[in-house]
């Protein structure tokens, strides 16, 4: 089930989800989402150089995605006047907002684009929109302009929307630590416990 604006506000008030700075109560919400804004820090992928063939190998021993990104991107800060997102150039960005979902919550979230940018061909994620329970931090955006004209990004602009969904049940990691208790028992008496079902009244 997708949370409505009213339910998102309740989840925020109860601390099930944190958005910092908090969204503008008047204008940041839609019926079933809350808008997030663009942080000025972006990483722009460098273009290819003739004669140099760089292949990313995430399975290589010692692979460090951040070091690789530093080699292949240029860090930039979006000025107030804006930054031209050129067609076809993958650019990493982040939301200005810090988002946290508790481990024990029955909430998950998805970050999605906004139609006002999609109509120009701008996507803000590449197939990884899910925010799991336990996540915390600004949300990374993989922005790419699939259109044929540059689009001006400005710091603080509404860049994406966060859709909150209620899961069917609490994730296993949100339950009490049954396995820790088990590990204190002798191995001969150890067995997997399941949460006890409540007796019918």
């Amino acid at each position: 089930m997708i949370l409505t604006d009213r339910e998102i506000r309740i989840a925020l008030a109860e601390g099930l989800i944190t958005i910092d700075p908090p969204p503008d109560a008047a204008v940041a919400f839609t019926s079933t989402a809350v808008d997030l804004t663009l942080d000025p820090a972006i990483m722009v992928f460098k273009g290819n150089v003739a004669g140099i063939d760089i292949v990313i190998d995430p399975g290589a021993p010692g692979y460090n995605s951040e070091e690789t990104l530093r080699q292949l991107t240029d860090p930039k800060t979006i000025p107030a006047a804006g930054y031209r997102l050129e067609p076809g150039v993958l650019t990493l960005g982040w939301t200005q907002e810090y988002v946290k979902l508790k481990n024990s919550t029955r909430l998950a979230a998805r970050v999605e684009g906004r139609s006002s940018l999609a109509r120009w061909g701008v996507g803000i994620h590449v197939t990884a929109p899910t925010i799991h329970a336990g996540f915390s931090g600004p949300i990374q955006l993989e922005m790419i302009n699939h259109g044929n004209r540059p689009l001006l990004l400005r710091p603080g602009m509404r860049i994406c929307q966060l859709i909150l969904e209620m899961s069917l049940g609490t994730p296993e990691k949100g339950y009490s630590g049954q396995y820790l208790e088990q590990s204190k028992e002798p191995s001969s008496t150890r067995r997997r416990r399941r949460p006890r079902a409540k007796k019918a009244a």
Binding site: G134, S136, Y179
Partner: protein
């Protein structure tokens, strides 16, 4: 539950750090928000399963660089905070 991590560098965004955790399958590297680390530990929720020799299955707060989301770790790499102990 909280798991020990070792900071090894900065992320590409000013809010991020790179940490390493020791798992039964080797070292995993994860990009995390700085605020997620308290006294060299990160919150991972409760273990999902246990196998012999005190190994516990935990879900990482974010996908590791290798793509791993759930990893087996030694029990002694996890600790319960006082507030959790009271709630249990």
């Amino acid at each position: 539950m909280w798991m020990k991590v070792r900071e090894i560098g900065q992320g590409v965004h000013h809010s991020e750090v790179v940490v390493e955790i020791k798992t039964m399958g080797g070292v995993e590297r994860i990009v995390l928000d700085k605020r997620a680390i308290k006294n060299g530990e990160i919150e991972v929720g409760n273990p999902l399963a246990m196998r012999d020799h005190g190994q516990l299955l935990v879900e990482l707060p974010r996908e590791a660089m290798s793509g791993a989301a759930r990893v087996w770790v030694k029990q002694d790499s996890l600790a319960r905070r006082q507030s959790e102990a009271r709630a249990a």
